[in-house]
């Protein structure tokens, strides 16, 4: 039965994914009969390559993927190295859940309002200190190189990587190794990087790949913070896909394949950078230097993490203020009047979308966790990673641009006759939820010390008993984190919910995105909170449950990391 799990996972999901990809790829070569493309040709590519600024768009996307992943990962690593087992570390740790729960778009809106020349920081000091009674004409948000956009992505990816790292940490026994390194005279950071990081990083790798894929193809953050002339590739792709001229969909499909290539290139560059970093690390290690003077490094790492957390929370606080604001002009630091009108108007109609969001999210997450555990357990029992390779296909939805892929997905659902039913919608969410659950859980699972299970087996315990009593409880923290991530992913789905649900299943996110298109910061503020509430609950549960369950088992608690 268990042997069927990997096959089942692939069967259920590979169908929609492959047809979805095919429906993306064929129009790129001019084949899509419903729109009059009945012959294969390279015309869409010819039109694509002459698009003004195409290569710059691609380059910005590539850079965004790599820079975001690098800075986010470095910040997390340096902070863990320099501050674990300190009070600061524990307090930051408590902030991870709320940070993760804030939707990307809300973070971006908050950051934009914080940093813009007419934004809150400027309002705080104007006109008193600056003399500005009207905002200066400075290009900060939407800057040409996408720096603000990358900052927006980084502050959101830091908590994600931090959470995954926290879940993996107990498996690598950080205290023992760090203590050994310290006793050999190494500084905190050097000791961690030499002794703990090489075991930890492999468990983070898939998450880092997800960060690269997401940042190089993000649409919502890029629209709010990114450059416009030209915009990053993914944004232009959505523009072509949405062009009233339906023929542009062929160009958009070719663009989607180019986006795929850009993301793949970013991943390849990262892989070679890994090699390089490994070499350098090796040289540093054999040099024997102890790096005991690390005050500055520690201060910088704490500063980076705190600033990221501050940016998100300040943005969120400002959105909260906006949700209650009357008219709020520059250079007032606070709105002129306060009103609950926006909340009063939106709240009463949200009951049904809220219920639907929870129902879909829970169903998709439970199925995803079950499939993932079954696959992992099968691998553990048979010591086979072969089928694991085939599972790579499940990660494809992470790196294929959503705008074009969802269209294909929708086609595949229609072809097999799945209407806008609840089941179809759960399946569609599963396509996006499963890869996240799998990548959050797979490495921590594999990293578990197999000797506990072996000991249990030698005492005559059955495989099932070992799973329920040893392996699953040991991975409980990671399982719950994976579930929380999966649930958050489900809650955040807009296009699949809209296109496959056809408006029969409105969720808080379909409502939020539609209303936010009106650009009213009050409405955006209200929905930022509505949208983050559910994932926040999920993350809180994911951290609370293990803490309570393992209250009397010190080494099972991630909280002591």
């Amino acid at each position: 039965m268990l042997a069927l799990a990997p096959t089942l996972a692939i069967l259920v999901l590979a169908g929609p994914i492959l047809i979805g990809l095919l429906a993306t790829a064929l129009p790129a070569f001019n084949y899509f009969p419903a729109l009059g493309g009945s012959q294969f040709s390279l015309d869409p590519w010819r039109e694509l390559v002459v698009m003004p600024g195409l290569w710059r768009s691609a380059l910005i996307s590539l850079a965004a993927g790599l820079v975001t992943a690098f800075i986010a990962l470095t910040s997390v690593a340096a902070f863990m190295a320099g501050w674990s087992q300190t009070r600061l570390f524990r307090s930051i740790q408590h902030l991870v859940s709320p940070l993760l729960a804030v939707p990307h778009a809300a973070t971006a809106f908050g950051l934009a309002f914080l940093l813009a020349p007419s934004g809150w920081l400027m309002r705080l000091v104007s006109p008193e200190l600056t003399g500005f009674s009207r905002p200066p004409d400075w290009l900060i948000v939407h800057d040409t190189f996408g720096l603000t956009m990358m900052a927006g992505l980084i502050v959101k990816e830091i908590p994600f990587l931090f959470l995954i790292a926290l879940a993996a940490l107990p498996q690598v026994r950080p205290h023992d190794f760090a203590a050994t390194a310290t006793s050999l005279g190494y500084g905190r950071i050097a000791g961690f990087l030499h002794a703990v990081w090489p075991q930890l990083y492999p468990q983070l790798r898939l998450a880092v790949f997800a960060v690269i894929a997401y940042s190089s193809s993000a649409v919502d953050v890029a629209i709010i913070l990114g450059p416009t002339n030209p915009a990053p590739l993914a944004v232009r792709l959505v523009g072509w896909m949405n062009d009233p001229d339906l023929k542009m969909r062929f160009v958009a499909s070719a663009g989607a394949l180019l986006q795929l290539a850009v993301t793949a290139a970013a991943l390849l560059l990262w892989l070679s950078a890994e090699r390089l970093a490994g070499l350098i690390h090796g040289c540093v290690r054999v040099s024997g230097r102890r790096f005991t003077r690390e005050k500055t490094a520690r201060a910088v790492s704490a500063g980076a993490i705190s600033m990221a957390a501050f940016a998100v929370f300040a943005g969120l606080a400002l959105l909260a203020l906006w949700s209650l604001a009357g008219y709020w002009a520059f250079p007032d630091a606070l709105p002129r009047s306060i009103t609950a009108a926006t909340w009063m108007h939106e709240m009463p109609v949200l009951g049904r979308p809220l219920g639907i969001t929870v129902a879909i999210g829970l169903s998709a997450t439970l199925i995803a966790v079950a499939i993932t555990l079954a696959c992992l357990e099968f691998e553990t029992r048979t010591a086979a990673r072969v089928k694991g390779r085939a599972l790579m296909i499940l990660y494809l939805p992470l790196i294929v641009p959503q705008a074009s892929f969802v269209f294909g997905l929708q086609l595949s659902f229609l072809w097999v006759g799945l209407g806008a039913s609840f089941g179809a919608l759960v399946l569609a969410h599963l396509v996006f939820v499963l890869p996240y659950v799998m990548l959050s859980l797979a490495e921590p699972w594999h990293a578990a010390d197999p000797r506990y299970a072996r000991a249990a087996r030698s005492m005559g315990a059955s495989q099932n008993l070992v799973f329920w009593r040893i392996r699953a409880p040991m991975a409980l923290a990671a399982i719950l984190v994976a579930a929380a991530v999966g649930f958050a992913v489900s809650v955040g789905q807009y296009l699949p919910t809209l296109l496959i649900g056809a408006g029969r299943w409105p969720t808080v996110t379909t409502e939020a995105v539609a209303l936010a298109s009106g650009g009213d910061r009050r409405v955006i503020g209200v929905f930022a909170f509505v949208q983050m509430g559910l994932p926040f609950l999920g993350f809180v549960l994911a951290t609370l449950v293990p803490a309570i369950a393992f209250a009397r088992r010190r080494d099972m608690r991630a909280a002591n990391a």
Binding site: A34, P52, A116, L139, N242, L414, A502, G503, A514, D520
Partner: protein, 409 residues
């Protein structure tokens, strides 16, 4: 053999029945349409970014439920393109009779594209609706031609649109006299650099601005009513692009970035980053004041030489599942009562498509008595209506704009 023939015939019969359901109901017998509509659920796919419009659609839903037993569900979209995509996918998958979209809020390019790809209910139905008799197609020609494409009754008018500008009169001391033409505007940006911008085409509002500028800068506007002749494009648009070249260094952020759409433009005005914004709806400024998005000192203005004007519509996809229900809703939306409620500035403020003078007294008088709101110009103050250029101009202009300005340095 005979059995085989019989089953083939039966199959054809089923097929024919299926095809028949794909056709419009018999509009000459309206009572039968209403009867068939009763109990249907109409999924109305419409942009959902404005609270007042969403509320109006809710109100219309309550009314049609009460009057005709039709359930109206507003599927809120962030972009009409998503609804178009849905119909395309359904057509590609052969779902020709059980589509999930019954009614779309649409106009211009999306309509032209859907019509060209046979994605709309045919033959035309709008001019056979009972309430069509109130529609003002004589003095509002855009009710019959959408971006110079004949509607052929495949979409029913819902409201009128006109390009209006607005500014904050509280800043009068800093902004000088408002411009009265595109040429004026170019001069104004020179006097007040960094205080004007427009959404980047191909955004609908950005392209609208380009078209307004084109109409004002060509020597002979009549060439714009015909399709673009490629060999003449450069010569016709030379004055336009010369003016834009001169204007761009004086735009907000020196033209290195542009706002995404009219909502972003309005936010820039609210944040005091720019001094002039514009929209395609005369009630826009009043609505924004009501929702606290703009200060109550904002007022509208137009160019006295005229501004672009057109109509927005609702259309029924060819494969809509609830065709009769959609017809009933479309008919209700152009009823005097629904149009009156819509034009009330406390509700939406969207101008009517009806000929109010031809209405029965009970509707004409309240129409005349409507107080349109502080920042809304009266119909008599809206200035001449300029006709949309042929759709090919818009397409060609957007391309050229992206080529010239889409990659900033």
């Amino acid at each position: 053999m005979r059995r085989l023939a019989r089953s083939v015939l039966a199959a054809f019969a089923v097929l024919a029945a299926g095809l028949a359901s794909g056709q419009a109901a018999d509009l000459s017998d309206w009572a039968s349409v209403e009867k068939a509509a009763r109990g249907q659920t109409v999924y109305f796919n419409a942009w959902g970014g404005a609270r007042n419009i969403n509320d109006y659609i809710d109100w219309a839903g309550d009314e049609v439920e009460k009057r005709y037993g039709v359930k109206l569900v507003h599927v809120k979209l962030d972009d009409t393109a998503n609804a178009v995509a849905k119909v395309v996918a359904e057509k590609a998958a052969g779902h020709d009779g059980d589509g999930t979209i019954d009614l779309i809020w649409i106009n211009g390019e999306n309509f032209a594209a859907m019509k060209r790809q046979d994605l709309l209910l045919a033959p035309g139905w709008a001019d056979k609706l009972p309430n069509w008799r109130y529609v003002d197609w004589k003095t509002k020609p855009t009710v019959l031609t959408d971006f110079t494409v004949p509607t052929d009754g495949q979409e029913a008018p819902w409201g009128m649109a006109k390009l209006v500008f607005f500014n904050d009169t509280a800043r009068d001391a800093e902004t000088g006299e408002m411009p009265d033409s595109f040429a004026d505007l170019v001069d104004w940006t020179q006097a007040f650099p960094g205080r004007f911008t427009y959404p980047a085409p191909p955004d609908f509002m950005g392209s609208t601005f380009l078209k307004q500028a084109l109409i004002e800068s060509v020597e002979d506007p009549s060439v714009l009513q015909k399709a673009v002749v490629e060999t003449e494009f450069d010569a016709v648009t030379a004055p336009l692009f010369a003016a834009l070249d001169a204007m761009h260094p004086n735009l907000w952020r020196s033209g290195r970035t542009f706002p995404k759409n009219k909502e972003a433009l309005r936010q820039l005005l609210a944040d005091n980053e720019i001094d002039i914004a514009f929209a395609f709806s005369p009630a826009e400024a009043s609505n924004a004041i009501a929702s606290h998005e703009l200060p109550d000192t904002v007022r509208s203005f137009i160019f006295s030489g005229g501004t672009l004007s057109n109509t927005h519509f609702v259309a029924i996809p060819y494969n809509a599942a609830a065709k009769e229900g959609s017809l009933v809703v479309a008919n209700f939306l152009i009823s005097p009562q629904a149009q009156l409620h819509k034009q009330d500035p406390k509700v939406w403020g969207d101008p009517t498509v009806l000929d109010t003078n031809a209405l029965p007294d009970e509707y004409r008088e309240p129409f005349d008595a409507l107080d349109l709101g502080v920042a809304t110009l009266k119909p008599s103050e809206l200035g001449p209506a300029l006709a949309e250029p042929h759709a090919s101009w818009m397409e060609r202009l957007e391309k050229e704009w992206t080529r010239r300005y889409g990659v900033a340095n």
